[in-house]
Symmetry: C2
């Protein structure tokens, strides 16, 4: 295995969209929502074990999740678990990882990946990653993975390439990015989908350490300087104290907004390995096994009658009888019950806010 | 208080219609479904405390519920809790009570009443009962209480009087019964309702001990003879053993079918004291306080959105968020969750049977 290969798994998310299944004490990346036997974080970690040496896999997350991470990933090196004292979005997280890696191997090629996405075709994933690593090793490029859309999805951001570089099925190779676009409405999504110029933004990046550090220097020098001060402290007992201080001083900014959307050496490698960010109950439903009535059911003691197109997610042993639900989400976790129409799942965020206000932090 | 007044409260029911709120280990009469602070049994007991001396109030129920009864009714005399070893419907239950009472007071006037009905106007109830007691004290009559219908209800049995005896608002008095009818369909119920000749069968009976014993002798001699053998054993240490044996030999028959529908001295006293048998979620809903969206809600931590005309019955402290339910029942009790359309509540009985088959007796 190439000892220059490093992986940074970002595991600090705290979304409320899967509440009450995900809670602030246990967000989605730490859950096995699909019932595969592994949490998303575990799946992600295992996926990279074939690509990077174990000692080159870093996890970045919030301090609060340290124990959870060490528990779920018994193989991870404790020194490779980077603990953020507060949320500062992805740019500081990557700057921190850059300097940690720099001390170990200035020639590193780095993959940065979210911890809570679904990837179905692991061999194809590995092949694409290796293709991307080869590219960034030889080019001063910031490479993103762009997923070939199979439908006009409105839930994802898109990456556009130049019209004259439109990619044929047979020749997926790194291609210069024209622009990044936010989540489109359905009309636009249809145009994107049919054009062949647009890819879903997977949030997976590849680059040489030198390339990303150069980009930080150019576009986010302020953040870069803060973390540069830690040279000599990284991988010592003083690291956490330095990081706690540095994070409080750093601005809150994403790598996309801070660098990727500005840099002129951004490439996209198109990929087709059965990807979903599983960011909504809808996408979870799409990717789950369904019974004859198109229900996806978790829980051994769930009896359904006249129930269709619904997501039923109950504690393993809880006895539940449900009749007459069509297109609903019914989920119970840790003693909290949520029933909601599938078409209204975007309201869950508001429900969680209301719960926080009316019932307190313990329930969110 | 008249020491001839006796009351027999029948508390052996094990219905599954309110499952999972009612369970075979704790049927409806032992629950406070309306959240009044008292269970139905406690309400019924208290209601009769003004009418009968404490030592004249008998409870008949299954052996399994002995502890529950003594716990809920600390005032009841333990010797007045009649314990059935098995279910034999109401006739054996009343025969048993007859002989128990006979030993104490052969001049008794007896009220027999279910333990799980709702009565809103207690003073009016008391007035009607006293009127009935006066009548049965002076007449060899089997008197039933007939509730003045306020709607064409299909969920109750009806008692018909003769057309020429049609009762005016002002003159409710004991009237000869023409016939008892089963639950009608809606068309029939409308005719019943409009005729003025029909009353809801409340299941509350009044009679002199001699009258009911005479009727047993005439119409259910076989059952009567069995219990007659216990004379001298009632109210002694041998009573329970005798009863256990006698019940196993007795036939399973209701007082209605065995006596009331056959006897020629059956009268009805019309009553209007805000009665409901609360035998269905529908009737429970009718009799419960509702919020602005016409939901009846039990549980302190229930948040509702876009939810109307529903019955939400959750454990007091459970956090529940429900969105988009209209005309549903959502109830959790003792770790079991049921969601069901209100219009399909009659299916609950089948659900419970299925649960019993698929998951075992522990859940019913």
């Amino acid at each position: 295995m190439d000892s220059n290969n490093f992986c940074v798994i970002m595991a600090g998310g705290v979304g409320s969209r899967f509440w009450p299944l995900s809670r602030s004490a246990k967000p989605k990346q730490f859950l096995d929502i699909l019932g595969t036997g592994k949490t998303f974080l575990q799946q992600t970690f295992d996926r990279f074990k074939n690509i990077c040496p174990l000692e080159n896999i870093l996890i970045v997350s919030n301090k609060d999740y340290k124990d959870l991470i060490l528990e779920q990933l018994p193989e991870v090196l404790e020194e490779n678990v980077l603990l953020e004292p507060m949320r500062r979005n992805t740019a500081p997280c990557i700057a921190y990882a850059n300097y940690k890696i720099r001390e170990k191997n200035p020639e590193a090629n780095i993959i940065v990946a979210p911890s809570d996405h679904l990837i179905m075709n692991e061999p194809e994933f590995e092949r694409v990653i290796r293709q991307g690593l080869d590219f960034v090793n030889e080019n001063d490029a910031l490479l993103t993975l762009g997923i070939k859309p199979n439908r006009p999805e409105t839930g994802y951001g898109y990456i556009q390439i130049n019209h004259n570089q439109k990619i044929e099925e047979s020749e997926c190779k790194p291609t210069k990015v024209k622009t990044f676009t936010e989540k489109p409405n359905l009309e636009m999504a249809k145009i994107f989908f049919e054009s062949g110029e647009f890819f879903w933004n997977s949030g997976i990046f590849l680059w040489k350490l030198n390339s990303i550090m150069g980009a930080f220097d150019k576009y986010l020098a302020e953040v870069n300087e803060l973390f540069k001060k830690g040279i000599g402290v990284y991988n010592t007992d003083g690291e956490q104290k330095f990081i706690d201080q540095t994070y409080s001083e750093s601005k809150n900014i994403s790598i996309d907004y801070g660098i990727i959307e500005k840099a002129d050496n951004v490439y996209v490698l198109c990929a087709d390995f059965g990807w979903s960010d599983l960011g909504t109950w809808g996408s979870l439903y799409e990717n789950s096994q369904k019974n004859e009535e198109n229900n996806t059911v978790m829980g051994k003691n769930v009896l359904l009658y006249d129930t269709e197109n619904s997501i039923i997610n109950m504690p393993e042993d809880k006895l539940v009888v449900i009749q007459g639900l069509k297109d609903y989400i019914a989920v119970e976790s840790d003693g909290i019950l949520l029933i909601c129409k599938r078409e209204d799942e975007q309201k869950i965020r508001q429900f969680v806010k209301d719960v926080k206000i009316k019932k307190g932090d313990d329930f969110v």
